[in-house]
């Protein structure tokens, strides 16, 4: 079904009786849902931005001091490079934003494999759809695993910890936060968690699609449209991550 042959002349395409955008209702619904979900994430990210900029930064309070001397404090919003600098197996080495860079790359990579799966679907190539779906699923799981590691590291903190209300505190949870104001940890957990839940649902959907494709459901149906619909969702989740990444790690 790579090419859709509509008999309706372009002039009459909006005159009813046919699908004016040459798209079935399922895909339209997915588009509309994604529009809606955009607003869910926007609300969260804008909230984050408002709270974040209600706090001073390290350099606001220490004019002239280089970021190299950054320290964690409840007084100012932490610099992401100082918080996210660990990489698995490389204990004790400071590699700011390297790990999250890898995570981002993995997710974007899985979007590429998703595109390839969709394209294989257009060619009605069952084996290729299966192959690329598997890669996509693998990418999804790797991302989730990396996120689990990152959360784990964030929760357990650095060996030095920080003094909070006269007590040494390590890491972060929803109530205390070694790295800076509690709000930073609250939003970090909530937004990356909310995004992670989306990725998890995406992985579950991808597995379903893979399972159906492998069982020849779509071949019998004559089209791989489901791969496309779930693909839209997967790209969306990816795109949202780019924004989450920008907000939490780059600004």
């Amino acid at each position: 079904m790579a090419t859709v042959n509509s008999t309706t002349p372009e002039r009459l395409i909006w005159q009813g009786g046919t699908q004016p955008m040459k798209v079935g209702y399922g895909k339209l619904m997915m588009w509309v849902f994604l529009l809606s979900d955009t607003f869910t994430f926007s609300a969260l990210l804008i909230s984050y931005g408002l709270v974040r900029f209600s706090y001073p930064s390290f350099q606001d309070l220490n004019p002239g001091v280089s970021l190299k001397n950054f320290e964690f404090s409840q007084q100012w919003w932490p610099t992401p490079e100082a918080v996210f600098e660990a990489v698995p197996f490389l204990h004790g080495i400071s590699l700011p934003l390297v790990f999250v860079g890898i995570m981002t790359f993995i997710l974007i990579f899985s979007s590429v494999t998703m595109v390839l799966a969709v394209e294989a679907g257009h060619r009605m190539d069952k084996a290729d759809v299966e192959k690329w779906m598997l890669w996509t699923i693998l990418g999804g799981f790797t991302f989730l695993g990396s996120q689990a590691w990152e959360w784990n590291h964030f929760i357990h903190g650095t060996p030095e910890g920080s003094m909070i209300d006269g007590v040494q505190f390590f890491g972060a949870n929803l109530v205390h936060n070694q790295y800076g104001p509690t709000a930073f940890a609250d939003f970090f957990f909530f937004i990356t968690g909310f995004h992670g839940t989306h990725v998890l649902s995406g992985v579950v959907l991808n597995i379903l699609i893979f399972y159906n494709a492998a069982n020849g459901v779509y071949e019998k149906r004559g089209h791989y449209d489901m791969v496309e619909k779930v693909g839209l969702y997967w790209h969306f989740v990816d795109l949202v991550w780019v924004f989450v990444f920008t907000f939490f790690y780059l600004v």
Binding site: V4, T8, G17, F33, A43, L44, D186
Partner: protein
């Protein structure tokens, strides 16, 4: 006169279902038929309206007669009425707050959002655009059952020991976030949030279906410039819901975390009972921004469908084309767009930067323009019309009256300098009960009276309809008009009683008057409900087109599954050809081709005859997968 031209295959692939009988459960309970789902929404909405209405009687009694002995309510309200040593029953002040909160929540969301959009979008979209059903019957069914689940959670919350949510329908933190702050912030509030999250899922599933159905399933010839204004209104409403509700969803999730998991999204520097809370850094104002980003579009989610229904009812019963069809569409589009950028007019007194306040003031006042366009278009449609005063028509005219009188006070409130004085007084209560509460309920009732014959195949009793209208119309004004004075006098909203303030004593009689009028307006609804129930079973059998109306739903005789027994009619003209000059009849339905009405065609319509043959040949593209 119906010259339905027969042609080719069906628009929607439902033929295969038509032949086997559905079980009782699939037909009436877990039904995927849009007409059944519409009735489910309607009846749920009516039940909720009764509950919400009775709640208002209880708190109005408290406000109008502060010394009233409420002991007689003890059997229903139990612990919420305490009996003093002298045997006098008093309503619990915290329960008063909970009642006001639940009344608002129920009316805004469960009656005027689910009950109104759920009923009429579901019923009319497929029937008026000429489709066999919604794009996805299954998702449509899910939408209703999510709503049902949400209703159940909200209903159960009324009976928990600490009472239902008590922070107002806007549930502002910190009050709503701290269980210790008020009994109504306990488990009742948690259930409120859960119910709303389910409600949002339901509304999203419904909205997605409405929009895709309108895009993909219009019958041959039903281009967007031939859509009835109802469909335009439902579509805009769905878009508003799809884009605004998710923001409330985010806010509700964050609030759930603040309540249950110790986060501080909306909390900072708070003392409860002299104890400092550890929460730092959040912002309660942030919640207000998120809430009103939904909250303002929500009021248009409520009024737009009512306005759509009114357009249809007024044009039909004035026997005149709607005045300014395109202007109606553009003003609805304008209202929809503006609805997203005016939310902070609810927040003028939150310490907002006055410059920002004046930006929001300007944007807010611009809404008056499209609103006025609509009001004038209704009036000009009525102007010199051949008016038929059916009960539906009376309610539609009632809506116009309320929309105008309530809209005027909106313009007053939109001025930030005036709003600083009037905010959170009964003036606001008067404003929104007239422009939203009364107007939307009147639109909904107009819809019920108008489409009841198509829904249930029987007519409602017109005499009872007239009695219902006049009692409701007069008593609604008697309830809400005096509230303007009370508000200007400074009465704050959400107060349990005012007898502690000597200045307010001179208004005691006005408050008692309002209460009496409120009781009459609630009691008048008994006429409607008995008429409704009686007519479902015993009403006069309805003809296919009792109001001589032009839209497609009237071309099918008491629709069964699939809506039209045979071919779906093709559409050739807009829906408002009433009293067309030189036509022998005073209405020409949408499915009558121009080629069969040469006597009444306008020059440009004669030119459109050339396209008719081609439009009849339009074919649903089955190579496109759903």
């Amino acid at each position: 006169m119906a010259a339905v031209t027969a042609h080719v295959a069906d628009v929607h692939a439902h033929e295969e279902h038509e032949h086997h009988e559905l079980s009782f459960v699939r037909k009436y309970i877990f039904s995927e038929d849009h007409k059944t789902i519409a009735k489910q929404y309607l009846i749920s909405g009516i039940i909720w309206a009764v509950i919400g209405g009775l709640m208002s009687v209880v708190f109005r009694l408290q406000l109008g007669f502060p010394n009233l002995d409420m002991a007689w309510l003890k059997p229903i309200l139990g612990q919420w009425v305490s009996i003093s040593a002298e045997g006098v029953g008093k309503l619990d002040p915290n329960f008063y707050l909970a009642l006001v909160t639940m009344h608002g929540t129920i009316m805004v969301f469960f009656v005027l959002t689910a009950g109104l959009s759920g009923t009429f979008s579901n019923f009319l979209i497929p029937l008026q655009i000429g489709a066999r059903d919604m794009a996805s019957g299954f998702i449509n069914m899910l939408s209703y059952w999510f709503f049902f689940l949400s209703s159940m959670v909200m209903f159960v919350s009324i009976f928990v020991e600490t009472g239902p949510a008590g922070g107002g329908w806007v549930v502002y933190p910190p009050l709503s976030a701290l269980a210790d702050a008020n009994p109504g912030s306990g488990i009742g509030m948690t259930l409120w949030l859960v119910a709303m999250a389910l409600f949002i899922v339901s509304s999203l599933l419904g909205g997605i279906n409405y929009v895709t159905t309108v895009i993909n399933l219009r019958t041959r010839g039903m281009s967007f410039d031939k859509l009835p204004l109802t469909i335009w209104a439902f579509t805009f409403t769905a878009i508003l819901g799809i884009l605004a509700f998710p923001v409330l969803f985010s806010a509700a999730l964050l609030l759930i975390f603040d309540r249950s998991f110790g986060t501080s999204f909306f909390l900072s520097e708070i003392y409860v009972n002299g104890q400092a809370l550890p929460n730092q850094g959040g912002s309660p104002i942030l919640f207000q921004h998120l809430f009103w980003f939904l909250g303002h579009p929500e009021v248009y989610i409520i009024i737009l469908p009512a306005l759509g229904i009114t357009s249809e009812v007024i044009a039909t019963n004035s026997r005149k084309p709607i005045f300014g069809y395109k202007a109606m569409i553009f003003s609805m589009a304008g209202i929809m767009f503006l609805a997203f950028i005016v939310w902070a007019h609810h927040m003028f007194v939150t310490g907002m930067n006055p410059f920002l306040g004046s930006v929001f003031m300007l944007l807010t006042l611009i809404i008056a323009v499209p609103s006025a366009v609509k009001a004038f278009n209704y009036i000009t449609t009525l102007w010199r019309g051949n008016i038929v005063f059916t009960p539906a028509m009376l309610f539609a005219i009632g809506l116009v009256s309320f929309f105008v009188s309530g809209g005027l006070t909106g313009i007053i409130l939109g001025n930030s300098a005036l709003d600083i004085q009037l905010h959170d007084t009964y003036f606001v209560v008067a404003h929104f009960h007239i422009v939203m509460g009364a107007a939307a309920i009147f639109g909904m009732l107009a819809g019920v009276y108008h489409w009841f014959p198509k829904m249930f195949g029987r007519m409602m009793n017109a005499k009872m309809g007239y009695a219902h209208f006049w009692l409701t119309f007069i008593s609604s004004y008697l309830v809400f008009f005096p509230m303007h004075y009370i508000g200007i006098a400074g009465f704050p909203r959400r107060y349990y009683q005012w007898s502690g303030f000597a200045t307010f004593d001179s208004y005691a009689d006005l408050n008692a008057f309002i209460t009496v009028a409120a009781i009459i307006s609630v009691a008048a609804q008994a006429i409607f409900i008995s008429n409704f129930v009686y007519s479902i079973f015993k009403g006069k059998k309805a003809p296919a087109n009792p109001w001589n109306s032009n839209t497609l739903e009237w071309t099918t005789d008491n629709p069964g599954h699939g809506n039209w027994p045979g071919e779906i009619p093709t559409v050739y003209r807009w829906p408002y050809d009433y009293s067309k000059p030189n036509s022998a009849v005073d209405f020409i339905p949408q499915n009558i081709p121009y080629s069969s009405t040469p006597e009444s065609n306008l020059p440009h319509e004669n030119e459109m005859i050339a396209d008719e043959k081609e439009i009849e040949k339009l074919e649903f593209d089955r190579s496109i997968p759903d």
